[in-house]
């Protein structure tokens, strides 16, 4: 194995006869945000728990920050930061107290811990709430505190297990910004699990889609989407009588696709870049376009292509028609 921040080979975890993680291979590059995308129960958290030394693999091996997760578990724990699902934070303690405790657990000297804690609280916008008990925090504040706790020792590798689950859109976007800063500003390698398509699309340079404990697709979001097929252009023309003429023009750009009444749809062989040519061609024959919409494949399409099912909760979270990312 090489010296990548995160690498796993044939990772398996069984609970009795149930196989939660089934021969997972991973190779995360330094400074990368790697997204682990899948529905509930797909094996994301179990994989993270193995990589963070909280669970022993049933088979296979993994190295994090250059250390074996079984043989050198203590060294792995020293090198990583982890924000697990549900932000398990003692509600009776204050943000400051939790940071002090976390600093002690990580072996940070008291003076350094105080300045580091203050710096982190400021960065996550919790300075004013630092001496309030966590039970008074909102869900977003708890997540941000959890992130600060995970960062107290400046980890080289950061694991975020569904960091925005249950957060409102504003808190979610704020947390994304923080992850971007950590990655781009500080060069922290991040492994992020999520069931939100948009989150994976927005943050991850590469993603692995996991289903039933197996990785079913892996790559850059744009590449994965491109593999699913060409984007679909939906066109609505102004005059009803011009539909046949418009269909003939569109046929020159790709295969017709099913669409609602009054709408023409075509799979663009030339990709999104040929959209301008379509507009020109329609204009050349005197057709007035009422509306035009480009639907690029989403990660949900990638998931559906790989598994035959749609990702749970996809409709509300990542069903973008603009092909973000």
């Amino acid at each position: 194995m090489s010296n990548l921040p995160i690498e796993a080979s044939g990772l398996v975890r069984r609970f009795g006869t149930f196989v939660a993680v089934d021969h997972v291979d991973l190779a995360v590059e330094p400074g990368e945000v790697f997204g682990f995308l899948g529905p509930n129960g797909a094996g994301k958290s179990t994989t993270v728990r193995m990589l963070t030394t909280l669970l022993t693999p049933s088979e296979g091996s993994a190295r994090v920050a250059g250390f074996d997760v079984v043989r050198d578990a203590a060294k792995v724990r020293r090198a990583i930061g982890v924000a697990l699902q549900d932000a398990a934070i003692d509600p009776l303690m204050t943000g400051n107290e939790l940071l002090r405790l976390q600093a002690t657990l990580q072996g940070i000297p008291r003076a350094a811990a105080a300045s580091r804690g203050a710096e982190l609280l400021e960065r996550v916008g919790l300075t004013a709430a630092a001496d309030k008990r966590v039970k008074a925090y909102s869900g977003g504040m708890r997540r941000r505190l959890d992130l600060a706790l995970a960062l107290i020792h400046q980890p080289r590798v950061l694991f975020l297990d569904e960091p925005t689950t249950g957060l409102d859109p504003t808190s979610r976007i704020a947390l994304w910004e923080e992850v971007r800063y950590l990655n781009r500003g500080l060069g922290t390698t991040v492994l992020l699990t999520t069931q939100y398509l948009e989150e994976a699309d927005q943050l991850a340079g590469r993603i692995a889609i996991i289903d039933g404990g197996r990785i079913v697709r892996e790559g850059r979001p744009a590449e994965l989407k491109a593999q699913v097929g060409s984007p679909t252009l939906r066109v609505e023309v102004e005059a009803n009588g011009e539909q046949d003429k418009a269909a003939a023009v569109l046929a020159g750009f790709g295969e017709a696709r099913p669409a609602a009444d009054g709408v023409l749809a075509v799979g663009l062989d030339g990709g999104a870049a040929s959209m301008a040519d379509v507009v020109r061609a329609l204009d050349d024959v005197g057709i007035t376009v009422a509306s035009m919409e480009l639907h690029t494949p989403t990660l949900d399409d990638v998931f559906a292509d790989a598994t035959g099912r749609r990702l749970e909760g996809a409709a509300g979270d990542g069903d973008g028609d603009d092909g973000a990312g």
């Binding site: 203590a74 020293r78 303690m93 990580q106 706790l149 400046q154 980890p155 500080l186 060069g187």
Partner: protein, 271 residues
Amino acid sequence: MTAVGLERGRADHDSLLGETRTWPVVVQLARRSVVLITRLPSAFIPSVVFPVFLILAFSGSFNGLRGANAFDNAMSWYAPLAVIQGAAFVGVGAGFSANREIESGFYDRLLLAPAPTVSLLLGPALATVLRALVPLVTVMVVALLGGAAVPGGALGFATLTLAAMGTALIHAFWCLGLAYRFKSQRAAPVMQIGVFVTNFLATAQVPLHLMTGWLHSVARVNPMTNVFRLGRAGWVEDVRWENCWGGVLALAVFISLSFWFAWRGLKRMIP
């Protein structure tokens, strides 16, 4: 990120961290536990109220045994029981806390730290000893106000404190061990039963020579009988070594065994 950037990040990380030592972690964990008494008093108050109730109820109910070849002073006889019982329940509280934190996920935070594993046991142990001081002092004060005599003087207070702290540690380690195995609040009844079985099948209520049948046989070999003898050493007569050594030995053996039980459980949780 460039290789230079990675190296810089690694250097920042390494320069920030000292060696994670056991004692600071133990102190922080214990401090947290003690601070939480004031934040969640409802979880702690029973361990103070119950022993006070116990000493008042038992010394009142069994006062008639005075002079019947049992004991001279009911308060002096039952104060050690109440103190030791209270300490045992403080120990059980350590297990309850661990259960709650395992279920809530907070314990993962502790397991993920590079702190020495033993500190995760010694922290709650120190907290237990500190928390056990509250019922200890409260019951002693109530007992003295109620007319308890302490013929053993300062040494009598010391032997009772030793018996109480040892009992608290035994139950803390035992209950932590259960918490690590059950990983849920289902362990709670088992934890509590341990206190009743060990204490009330010993000389908790009456001297051994007044017990008969199977209860006498069990109490005679129950190590807690020796612990009660140690706790009462200075409260029913002068402290004498022959009344103490059995209790000290029982505490030493059972603290070691319960610590081993907890340690094995914790090691099963940490790969």
